[in-house]
Structures are given as C-alpha cells and as structure tokens.
C-alpha cells in the first residue's frame, strides 16, 4: 500500500510537471505581447519595457520557464518562482498581487460551494438511488428516474439562470427575500448568511449531479442487490432497511466515490459557470477572468491549482477505494 501511494505520488508529480510545461508553453504562445496585456491601462512603451524586463519576457521561453521553476526574480518585493515557500506561482501585474495569494484568497468560496453542493447531491442521490433500486420499474422508480433525467440533461448555466430568475428575482419582486441573488458571506461571519447565499449555487450544481449520481447509485445498487451476499443477509433474517442501507449501500459506494471524487475535483478546481452566474468570487471566476483578460500568470496559476486539486482528489479516491478493496479483493 505504501509503495503504491509513493508510486502514485511520483506519477502525480510527473503529471503536474507536464501540465505546468504545457500550460506554460500554451500561454506563452496564446498571449502574444504579454507585457501589453499585463501593463496597467494607459501604460506607455517604457512601462511595458519595464515589465518585459522585470518578468524577463525578453528571454527565450525555456529560460523563462527556468525562472518560473526556480525562485525567479523578485517583483515588487515578491518572488515569482516555484522554489520558494509557499511556492510562488508568479505575479499578477494586472491585479498587482502575487498569484498564490490571489488564488488562496479565493479558495474558501470555492470550497464552500463544492462541499455544500456535494453534501446536498450525495444525500439526495443516495436516498433516491436506493429508493429507485428497491423496486426497479415501480412508479417510484420511474418518477425518480424521469426527474433525474431532466436534471442531468439541464446544463448548469440554464439551471443557474432559471434558479436565479425565479427564486431570487421573481420572489424578490413579490417582496419575498429568501435568496440573495449573488455574493458570498464567510462562514465565520455568519453561518446562516453563508448558507443562505450559497443555497442557489449549491442547488444549481446539485441538480445536475443528482441526475448523474442517482443513476450511478441505482445501477450500482441493482448490481449489488443481485449479489449472493445480499441474499445471505436476508437469509439471516436481517431487516430490509439494514439490507439496503448497511449491506448493499456499503458495497455500492465504490463507483459513487470514484465518480464523486472526479466531480468534486472539477468543482473545487473552479466551478466557472456557477461562480460566474452567482457572482461568487471563487477560483473559477478568477480563472476565467484572467484567461479572458490575458493575465497569464494567473492563468498558469489557476490551471496548476485545478490540476493539483484534481490529482489530490483522484489520489485520495484511489487510496480510499483501494483500502476498501483491500478488504474485498477477490483473486
């Protein structure tokens, strides 16, 4: 197990390095004339030359990469290179802020978004998935499955628009202010406001995910329910509730965990659409805004961040499922 984890980490590091290389080269080609994009508005040629010098943009790109990987030059008092603690991911001239700081300041929002959404969608899909699998083909199953279908077929941006229009705007015009349209209140400021502000975004994410996961849980449950050991559980005289939720669900969870890890990673790496629609100042919005505005140090930073999140969560999922499988390996 330990050697497995070590090897996985080695591979992940390699993955990360390749992601970094590709992103670096990609942004270097994609954003031509970076100094102009990075300079403050109205900057003249001198300022741009200054930025070019400071960021060593006049050097060949492989040297730039070396600077980036090593400590790099100091810009306005902050290192821009990776070999530095905490690793600096460059400096955003546009925002006049080191990239690492910028990203870390957005993490709480995105994390709140992801975690709340995952709790909602997992709870709902586990319950509805089990209900569906209990009597496949029954009315309950058909209704739940049909709803799940629509949920999974709704693009998040559409759900977002509709939720915001009906639950915020329409209600608000009738004077009912349950849901704010946008914004984020930190949890430690007011847990209630935190949840109130995030409820619609959570729903927007959860609706699609419930659609997916309900089906995964259902399928996985159906498969598990036909397993011999479920019959054994019944043969012991176990109550049906325990058969479903203890025995069956326990084994049915593997695909749920695997897929859940992937989806969660994608959201943690930046839920661009939802963050944009609901004006959440998270990593996703930072990523898309920097990409749109050509603030490429931030583009590289957010890309790396998303990769790290993805890699960490797949690693976790792998280790968890392996630990579970460890108990169930069949040879």
């Amino acid at each position: 197990m330990l050697t497995y984890v070590v090897r996985r980490i080695g591979r992940s590091a390699l993955t990360l390095l390749i992601v970094l290389l590709v992103t670096f080269v990609l942004t270097r080609i994609a954003y031509r004339n970076p100094a102009a994009t990075l300079a403050p508005r109205n900057a003249d040629q001198q300022v741009m030359d200054g930025i070019t010098k400071a960021l060593r943009l006049d050097e060949p790109w492989h040297l730039q990469l070396v600077h980036y990987l090593l400590r790099g030059p100091d810009i306005q008092g902050a290192a821009v290179g990776l070999l530095h603690w905490p690793p600096a991911l460059g400096y955003s001239f546009r925002k006049q802020t080191p990239v690492t700081e910028l990203i870390l300041s957005k993490v709480p929002v995105t994390a709140s978004l992801a975690l709340g959404a995952v709790v909602i969608w997992m709870t709902f899909s586990l319950v509805t998935g089990v209900l569906s699998a209990r009597r496949p083909g029954s009315v309950t199953d058909k209704v739940i499955s049909a709803v799940a279908y629509v949920g999974l077929s709704l693009p998040t941006f559409l759900t977002g628009i509709l939720l915001s229009y009906f639950l915020f705007f329409k209600l608000a015009t009738y004077g009912i202010r349950w849901f704010p349209s946008s914004g984020y209140v930190p949890f430690r400021e007011s847990p209630f406001e935190w949840a109130r502000h995030l409820l619609l975004p959570w729903l927007a994410i959860a609706i699609a995910e419930i659609g997916i996961f309900q089906r995964v849980v259902r399928g996985s449950m159906l498969e598990v329910l036909s397993a011999d050991y479920i019959r054994t559980a019944r043969a012991k005289g176990l109550a049906e509730r325990r058969v479903y939720f203890d025995h069956a669900l326990r084994s049915a969870l593997n695909p749920v965990i695997t897929l859940g890890g992937l989806e969660l990673a994608a959201i943690l790496g930046g839920a661009i659409v939802v963050e944009t629609i609901f004006g959440l100042d998270g990593v996703g919005r930072l990523a898309i805004e920097s990409a749109l505005s050509g603030d490429y140090p931030v583009v590289i930073g957010t890309t790396l961040f998303a990769s790290v999140v993805f890699i960490l969560s797949t690693l976790t999922v792998d280790v968890v499922t392996r630990l579970r499988d460890h108990a169930s390996v069949t040879h």
Binding site: R11, S12, L14, T15, L16, I18, V19, V22, T23, L26, T27, I29, A30, Y31, P136, G137, D141, K142, Y149, V150, L152, S153, L154, P155, T156, F157, L158, I161, I212, R215, V216, G219, S220, L222, E223, S226, N254, P255, T258, L259, L262, E263, A266, G269, G270, I272, V273, T276, A287, I288, A291, L292, V299, T302, T303, A306, S307, F310, I311, T314
Partner: protein, 315 residues
C-alpha cells in the same frame, strides 16, 4: 461528466446477443430508446430542414429585421405570424436561429464525440492490450489531459487560434470540435483500457495466441468486435455531455462565435440583454432545443444500456 460506464462496462462483454441485427431489434423495442429516437429524430429533421424553414419564412439565420421585428426603442416582438418564436434583440428570427443552432449542436457534438471515440479507443486498446510501459506512458498522457481544467484550457486554445492577422487559424467551429474531443477522449480511453485488459485475459484471446495470431490480428478480430458495443453505447452516453459542453463554451463566449447561432450563445444573449423578460421565447426556444436534444440522446443511451446490461433496467 459521467464515467459510470467504465465502472460497469465489463457487463457489456457479456452481451446476450452477438448479432447486430438482433441487438438492434431488441434495442428498438425499448421504450426509452423509442422516445429518445423520436426526439432526436425530430431534432435532426429540424436541423436538416433549417434552410427550408428559413426560406419558407424568408428570414436568414443572421439576417436582421430591425424595421419589422423591433419596435422603435429596439425591443423585439414576441411570436407573430411571420416570426413564429419572435425575434431577438437584433431583430433576427428566433425560430430560424434555433433551428440553425440545432445544426451547430449536432455538427459539433457528433464529430467531436466520434473523434474522441476513435482516439480514446485506440489509446485504450494499446494501453490495455500491451500493458507495461505502453500502458504507463498512455496512462500518464491520459492523466495529464484529465487534470487540465476544461474551460480555462479551452480559452487558451481559443487565444492560440488567433493568427497574426487577427483571423482564426482554423474555423472556430472546428476548434470547438477539437477542444471538446480533446477533453472527452480520455473517458473512452479509460473505458476501452479496462475492457481490453479484461478481454486480454480471456481464454479466447489466449486461444488465438496459441494458434499463432499476432497482436494486431487479435486486437482487430478478438478485442475490437467485443468492445465495440460498449464503446458505441458510451458514444451515445458521451454525446449529450459534449453537446452541453459546446453550449457551455458558447455560453461563456468562447465557443461558436456571433453572429453564428448556437444554443449556448443564444441563451447567453437572451440572458445578458435581459430580453428574455420581455420576449421569453428568446430564451425558451434555444433552451428547449438544447434540453430536448440532450434528454433525447440520454434516453437512447440509457435504453441501450438497459438492453445490454440487465442490471440496469427494469424487469
């Protein structure tokens, strides 16, 4: 989105009926498939008929009818006898644009998914069949692609696509196809890799070896035909996902470019201009188109899975 299939895909290897004809017959008997085929059929028909409709009502997809379809302060009219779904903020016919939007969705979704399928299947076959370092290298590549964030990378690629003279290197639609394919082949690769590795240890593959078949021959004759049904079903699973991906890119403004209509950028337009509040069809038209298409394809893939995988369906 979904990688449900890989987790359960080995079930397809146990597909009850080997003949394509028989399979098709029982697939078509499935109710969900029939609903899906009907919906998708209608969408395809409408997409094909888009120019006809355009000619019939006399409105091109990007033609603006400011004088007929907008009032003096630029507010579009709602449905009328000549504009069946009303107009958008530029005085363009929403119906015609929705129909042309269907073309974009299909013209992006189908090739993108197919390309992804071909690449992914090839990669998965090689990795699963040869194992060892081939697998290591290909898995590494897959990992790298998987860990790229979709939208941001797409944006970089869009920026990359702009040439020195400001035009695009390849047409934006091709680029969108490429981006969507680039991000979805990995799912096919994971699926095929698992299936191939599973098949690799099947006695009939070993049996082929014992009569002296080479690797390629085995891949072609023994592996490919057996993973094909799963791959094709997964194609149908991935297609709606990719249609949504295109719409999302267009919604974010990095997919199909204005004035070419795409459901994604139409919805974005309707939302951004708030015009959906006075001309709801501006939003409902493309939204219904998109959701119906996606539901249709989802129904088909689900139905096919029901048939191929007895656990999945209702009995």
């Amino acid at each position: 989105m979904s990688d449900v299939a890989p987790a359960r895909a080995t079930l397809f290897l146990e597909a009850p009926e080997p003949e394509v004809a028989g399979l098709a017959r029982s697939v078509l008997r499935d109710r969900s498939v029939r609903i899906g085929v009907t919906v998708v059929g209608v969408v395809v028909l409408l997409a094909v008929a888009a120019p006809l409709v355009a000619a019939l009502v006399g409105h091109g997809p990007t033609e603006q009818f400011q004088s007929e379809a907008l009032d003096s302060s630029g507010v579009p009219i709602g449905p009328s006898s000549s504009f069946w779904l009303g107009a958008d903020g530029n005085g363009r016919d929403v119906l015609v644009r929705v129909l042309y939007g269907a073309r974009v969705s299909l013209l992006v979704g189908i090739p993108a998914t197919t390309i992804a399928m071909v690449i992914g299947t090839l990669v998965g076959l090689l990795a699963g069949f040869f194992g060892g370092w081939v697998d290591q290298v290909l898995s590494q590549v897959t990992d790298v692609v998987l860990s790229f964030p979709f939208v941001v990378t797409a944006l970089s690629l869009v920026a990359l696509n702009r040439t020195e003279d400001g035009s695009s290197r390849v047409s934006p639609v091709l680029l969108v196809i490429g981006i969507v394919a680039a991000f979805s082949w990995t799912y096919f690769a994971r699926l095929t890799r698992g299936l191939t590795a599973e098949l690799r240890s099947r006695p009939f593959v070993e049996a082929s070896e014992t009569i002296g078949s080479g690797s390629w021959r085995i891949i072609r004759r023994d592996v490919l035909p057996n993973i094909a049904p799963a791959v094709i079903v997964y194609w149908a699973v991935q297609l709606p996902t990719n249609i949504v991906a295109e719409a999302t890119l267009s919604f974010l403004g990095i997919g199909v470019q204005a004035p070419t209509p795409s459901w994604g950028n139409m919805i974005a337009d309707a939302q951004r201009t708030s015009l959906y509040q006075v001309q709801p069809w501006f939003l409902i038209g493309p939204a219904v188109g998109l959701v119906a298409t996606v539901v249709g394809f989802n129904a088909i893939s689900n139905g096919v899975r029901n048939v191929l995988d007895p656990h999945h369906g209702t009995r």
